[in-house]
């Protein structure tokens, strides 16, 4: 296996050295004042300082100096973001589950969620130019899933060194090898990126030799090609392909009896996009984008005693879209877009792995940006999504920026986001033979399936909720974000943000009836109402030209509105220390599970002009509820919590003038382990990496 890396590296080196005859090194897209350009917030290029919505930018240098390999590594160190475990590593944004954040690569959505979670370990960071995180509902531009926010991973063929190779080795035989080749001329910009990631995984759970993170082999390659046909017309192609293989030999011992099983998972993920961009004039430009992606996951579990288990999921998504940007006046700019999506899933959990379940979407959006005076910008946007499988959605959003003076500016955004019912909620057809033979039927076919079972005399009872089953509506969120940016002085920035998201139509599984045997039958209904609210403070202080301090804090309060109503009505009970039931008080309510009240991170950064760098990062997350242990289905102080924890990460390195750079790092220095609640956090891990990049190729 390791031989193949060297082979790829060597081949790539020869291939690229012959390509780079004429090289042009292009710098990061910063304007003269060092202001970053952001595309995700408005779908147009805007300076960070002119945005009306809160955006976080993570640039390539931060990613590299932190020693972050996968998207999860860098997101967990951001204010307001937490990683979740279970069905891969997902990201929770301002208290909202991973289902509610859309993940884009160069503006195109990734698919392949399991139980709503997109495993962010799938995304390698070796060739990333920057990551943009938009907080707050953004469905007015991006449609479904952009309810909590948007994470857009941006690569750019014209950015960075023409050739770089890197290899990193660390604890648990974790190996990561990168090859990045670029060609940049006036006419053509090309980037080819290859990544290999292997790990033996690790076991941190006592009494079990099964590994929490299993041995994984991951390959990823992305290719980007930009062709400037004329100075007004360009073509851009992007491809991305990842392949992942996970194999795990599981042996669970209990009182001397050991059960062996072998799990194997193969995941393939491919994306392909093409866009044609044309500028008619300085005021008018348009682009046509076509995108196709497919995600295949096959899981096989073989147990010595018991039936083999096989789970197949194929998800594909095709989209064609046109976006036109029109500057009607120097103070008024408009964006218009239309598009169509064809989305389908084949899964062994929905009917059969051979039957394709389909949802088609047509949409249109517009956004108007008005700047009546220099100090004030107003943006209004609206998007309409028409769905073939469920109710349509209309997503409005308004946002504004007021620059009081050189030191203070304020942003306010109010928007509605939505998340379409997913295929599982529509089409699941699942009966658990192992535990009580209960069934879960997706709402699109529950009534049909249950009526058929009823005709066969298999249905015992139908609950009132059965008669409430109808086409699922999307889940909606109304979000308000208010931000105050304060430039305290030339060396210090502070940003404070208040946020509140009110969610309605939450789709939850609900019992709709019973079999004649008494086993339960579930389906999905729009029943829940919840909220997340709080504030964030982020700050940065430059001590001198070498040392920088930065940090962030999030205070978060969440709750299920129906549960709160029940507690107020006096129908929720809890237990006292003797085990006797008593009435639960509202002040004992802790909100939604897996949400922490406090999250803090702090970073010390050193960068010398000679190329030395050092950083130390601390991340703290307060306790979060994981389990209900008094059967009241409401989380209170008496329930099971994961304890709060503090993790330290550090990395240091040096970039030499000849293009060589070395880096060493230690993650989780204090070796914090919580096998049950933080399976994605191994104990202390160390790594060493070497990178060689050619900055300039001579003719």
């Amino acid at each position: 296996m390791k031989k193949s890396i060297y082979l790829i590296a060597i081949l790539g080196f020869f291939a690229s050295s012959s390509l780079f005859g004429q090289m042009r090194f292009v710098k990061d897209t910063l304007d003269a004042n060092g202001d970053s350009v952001v595309v995700t917030a408005t779908r147009t290029e805007r300076k960070l300082s002119n945005l009306t919505v809160p955006v976080t930018i993570i640039n390539a240098k931060t990613i590299q100096q932190n020693g972050a390999l996968r998207l999860t590594d860098i997101l967990k160190e951001q204010t307001g973001l937490n990683l979740t475990s279970g069905f891969g590593a997902g990201v929770q944004l301002q208290g909202l589950n991973p289902d509610y954040t859309i993940i884009l690569i160069n503006g195109e959505p990734l698919v392949g969620r399991t139980a709503g979670v997109l495993d962010l370990n799938r995304i390698a960071l070796g060739n990333i130019k920057k990551i943009e995180i938009v907080k707050g509902p953004s469905s007015s531009l991006y449609g479904s899933e952009a309810m909590a926010g948007v994470i857009n991973i941006i690569t750019d063929a014209a950015f960075g060194a023409p050739l770089s190779m890197g290899i990193r080795y660390g604890t648990y035989n974790t190996l990561d090898a990168n090859l990045d080749t670029k060609l940049s001329t006036q006419k053509i910009q090309y980037q080819g990126f290859y990544n290999l990631y292997q790990t033996d995984g690790y076991s941190i759970r006592p009494n079990s030799n099964s590994r929490v993170t299993t041995p994984i082999d991951r390959y990823a390659t992305t290719q980007q090609l930009k062709i400037n046909l004329t100075n007004k017309t360009s073509l851009v192609f992007n491809t991305r392909f990842t392949k992942e293989q996970i194999q795990n030999e599981i042996a669970v011992s209990n009182n001397g009896v050991t059960i062996y099983s072998i799990g194997k998972e193969d995941i393939k993920d491919a994306n392909l996009s093409a866009s044609l961009n044309h500028r008619f004039s300085n005021q008018l430009k348009t682009s046509i984008r076509a995108y196709a992606t497919t995600y295949d996951a096959i899981q096989n579990l073989l147990t010595i005693n018991g039936l083999p288990y096989r789970d197949v999921l194929n998800h594909n998504f095709k989209r064609i879209e046109n976006q036109t940007d029109w500057d009607l006046h120097k103070n008024l700019q408009a964006v218009f877009g239309v598009g169509a999506v064809w989305e389908g899933v084949k899964s062994s959990r929905y009917d059969s792995e051979k039957v394709r379940k389909q949802n088609d979407i047509q949409y249109a959006f517009t956004q108007w940006e008005w700047k009546p005076i220099n100090k004030f910008t107003f943006i209004g946007g609206l998007r309409f999504d028409r769905n073939s499988q469920f109710a349509s959605a209309l997503s409005p959003k308004v946002s504004m920026l007021y620059k009081l003076n050189a030191k203070h500016q304020f942003k306010l955004s109010i928007g509605q986001g939505f998340k379409a019912p997913d295929f599982r909620q529509l089409f699941l057809d699942f009966t658990n033979a192992a535990a009580g033979s209960y069934s879960v039927f997706g709402s699109a076919q529950a009534q049909q399936v249950i009526a058929r079972l009823d005709a066969l005399g298999q249905i015992g009872n139908l609950f009132p909720s059965y008669y409430q089953l109808k086409a699922l509506k999307p889940e909606y969120s109304n979000g308000v974000h208010f931000t105050w940016d304060w430039k305290v002085n030339a060396k210090t920035n502070l940003s404070t943000q208040y946020f509140r998201n009110d969610i309605k139509n939450l789709i939850e599984s609900q019992q709709v009836g019973t079999y004649i045997s008494g086993a339960q039958i579930y389906s999905y209904l729009n029943i829940g109402r919840a909220f997340t609210t709080g504030f964030e403070v982020e700050g940065q202080h430059q001590l001198n030209e070498k040392w920088t301090l930065s940090g962030g804090y999030q205070y978060l309060v969440t709750g299920d509105k129906d549960q709160i109503a029940e507690i107020k009505a006096g129908t929720v009970y809890t237990k006292n220390s003797q085990g006797y039931s008593r009435l639960m008080q509202l002040n004992e309510y802790v909100g939604l599970p897996n949400t922490s009240k406090h999250k803090v991170q702090f970073k010390v950064n050193y960068n010398s002009p000679k190329g030395y760098y050092l950083n130390a990062r601390a991340i703290y997350r307060s306790r979060w509820a994981v389990n209900n242990n008094n059967g009241n289905e409401v989380f209170d102080n008496g329930d099971v919590f994961a304890s709060g924890y503090l993790v330290f990460n550090t990395a240091a390195g040096k970039a030499f003038k000849n293009g060589l750079s070395v880096q060493a790092g230690i993650d989780n220095v204090s070796n914090y382990i919580d096998a049950a609640n933080l399976p994605n956090l191994p104990g202390r891990t160390m790594f060493l990496s070497l990178k060689y990049q050619i900055q300039h190729l001579k003719k």
Binding site: N254, G256, Y573, G579, Y580, N630, N632
Partner: protein, 215 residues
């Protein structure tokens, strides 16, 4: 089986009961005592099977609420017992379980606040053939929830088991916990403890011998 029985005198507020009644009614207040039964073994685990599931003798522990004692299994087909326990399943002396006048239902509310069984209450009986029991059996259906993650059984807060005894009188039960020692094991307890210390009921009950539905 060792069991400890402690008595908690719980004299119902006489004045409160009197206030609730109209003046011309004669009030007969019978003080009902709440009794706590600790660590009542109910088909405890003897080992683990090749399939990884717990093994046991499939025994049933019969209990008389009237006499506050365990009744021998040999008397299963008599009206000597009122409730019976076998792992998480609770039986009443009726239908497929026994020859008595037993019955029951799960009341949502607090033990102390259930002072009179509502008149419109329906007492169900056991019918093992249809997997239906007066005290519904299964996680989240009757008195407990089973947490697959921690593999622990937790009694649901605010559930009172209202029981009609074999003789047709009334009692109320609150299950306190399911583990030996009288407290539910912590989530971090060893697998071995979770296996061997389960199926020990601690519960409190009040029995009204005068045949009324008032406690």
């Amino acid at each position: 089986m060792k069991k400890m029985v402690s008595k908690i005198a719980m004299v119902l507020g006489v004045s409160v009961t009197m206030l609730a009644c109209s003046k011309d009614e004669e009030v007969i207040v019978v003080p009902v005592t709440a009794i706590t039964v600790k660590d009542l073994a109910a088909d405890t685990v003897t080992g683990i099977g090749a399939d990884g599931r717990p093994q046991s003798a499939n025994s049933v522990t019969y209990y008389s609420l009237v006499d506050n004692k365990v009744i021998a299994a040999a008397d299963a087909a008599t009206t000597k017992w009122d409730v019976a326990f076998t792992s998480t399943k609770i039986l009443v002396n009726s239908g497929t379980s026994g020859p008595g006048l037993g019955g029951g239902f799960v009341f949502k509310g607090l033990f102390d606040e259930l002072k009179t069984i509502p008149n419109d209450s329906t007492f169900a009986t056991d019918n093992a053939n249809a997997s239906s029991f007066a005290i519904p059996w299964g996680s989240g259906k009757g008195w407990y929830t089973y947490d697959g993650l921690t593999t622990l059984v937790n009694p649901i807060a605010g559930r009172v088991l209202v029981i009609r005894t074999a003789a047709g009188k009334y009692a109320k039960i609150e299950i306190i916990n399911y583990y030996k020692g009288g407290t539910t094991l912590p989530a971090t307890a060893s697998d071995s403890d979770k296996l061997t210390k389960q199926r020990y009921y601690t519960f409190r009950y009040a029995y009204q011998p005068n045949g009324t539905k008032t406690f």
